[in-house]
């Protein structure tokens, strides 16, 4: 299986390099075809090893959704990297966010999926589009600046990326038949019901009043009925209170820093003066 990964990484690297914008002859279509063929071939070869659908695991019907969402995500990501107009690249990134939210929904994490669509696809992408509109010189296709159309060191970047990818995939995919025969040998972490029940009953803050203790016991008993968002809320606020405080400090510092940066005075606002300064 490692050789399969190496061959697929090499073909994918060549196809991504062909899709990069450049001057003169543009083999982007052939690169896209080669990349799609590589992805499809890799998945077809891996599909033989997939386990039989059971009521415990993820069945084949779910894997069909995985293939659809994953293909859309990877193709859109390749377009984000290779498109020579920033606005269209940002719109392709919306497709990446939506399809990866679909993948997250397959995995049963509804809250994270919806939150990433709202935060990434809504807030962050609108901010990026605002800045692209603010900082773009002209909308003409012939007037686009060179730095959008010609990538910097594409060969070196693609080689670095796909050597790293083949290393990651060699570790991620089981290399021997033994790993396929013992699928869940790494799942030694305790289930979340045990973790949260233990946290709820053992924290001294919870045991300070009898009402809280009773609430904890009730929640631990009804854990199976909780929704995904309620479970994440419990895990977040019971297990990571210091992390929440640190995240708040990060956001506050970021807010202050952004205000300071935005208020910085630029003297050479004239474009003719600023060009050679």
């Amino acid at each position: 299986m490692p050789y399969l990964i190496y061959i697929a990484s090499t073909l994918a690297a060549i196809s991504l390099y062909m899709m990069m914008p450049r001057r003169g002859f543009q083999p982007g279509k052939f690169g896209a075809l080669l990349g799609a063929a590589t992805l499809g071939g890799l998945w077809l070869l891996l599909a033989e090893y997939l386990p039989e659908p059971t009521d415990r695991g993820v069945g084949h019907a779910v894997m069909v959704y995985y293939y659809i969402f994953s293909a859309v995500a990877i193709i859109s990501a390749a377009r984000v990297v290779t498109h020579d107009r920033p606005v269209y690249a940002a719109l392709w990134f919306v497709m990446v966010v939506l399809s990866s939210a679909g993948l997250i929904l397959i995995l049963g994490a509804e809250f994270i999926g919806f939150a990433s669509v709202i935060i990434y696809g809504g807030a962050i992408l609108v901010t990026y589009l605002f800045v692209i509109m603010l900082a773009s010189q002209s909308g003409d296709s012939d007037e686009r600046p060179d730095h959008d159309r010609i990538p910097r060191e594409p060969v070196a970047a693609v080689i670095i990326g796909f050597v790293l990818l083949s290393a990651i995939l060699t570790a991620a995919f089981p290399t021997a038949e033994e790993n396929l025969l013992h699928p869940n040998q790494f799942s030694a972490a305790p289930a979340d019901a045990d973790v949260i029940a233990g946290v709820l009953t053992s924290r001294p803050v919870q045991n300070m009043s009898r009402e809280n203790g009773a609430l904890a016991q009730a929640l631990a008993g009804e854990f199976e009925q909780l929704s995904n968002a309620e479970r994440i809320g419990l895990d977040l606020f019971q297990g990571h209170p210091l992390g929440i405080e640190l995240a708040g400090i990060i956001l506050l510092v970021c807010l202050v820093g952004a205000v300071v940066i935005a208020k910085t005075r630029i003297d050479s606002f004239d474009p003719k003066v600023g060009a050679d300064q």
Binding site: M20, A109, N179, G239
Partner: protein, 107 residues
């Protein structure tokens, strides 16, 4: 919601998608010559990491990965705000988005 365990090869498929998104973001960060697009590619690397975290969360049957994604979203939002304000500052100074215009910072 019935928490069912993933087969490790199914987990590997999700890790594959996450790794490919991360690597495409890395390649984009290295070879795009537009500062806004470079930071958009870092957001794509965050997406790959999010898929990996949620896949491991489902595989182990606990919620630590999904909780960590919330912190990843926090850092991504903070990074987007600061990076974009810096990009606007640099653009106002030289009227270009090309990072090569700042290559004298290389020393």
């Amino acid at each position: 919601m019935v928490v069912s365990e993933l087969h490790s090869l199914v987990l590997s498929h999700f890790l594959f998608t996450g790794a490919v998104l991360f690597i495409l973001g890395l390649v984009g960060f290295l070879c795009r010559r537009n500062m806004i697009m470079m930071f958009l590619c870092t957001e794509m690397m965050f997406q790959g990491v999010v898929i990996t975290l949620v896949g491991f969360s489902r595989f182990h049957g606990n919620l630590t990965g999904q909780t960590f994604v919330i912190f990843v979203l926090t850092v991504a939002a903070a990074e987007a705000a600061l990076a974009l304000s810096l990009v606007v500052l640099l653009f106002r100074r030289k009227r270009t988005l090309d990072p090569e215009a700042w290559s004298e910072l290389r020393g």
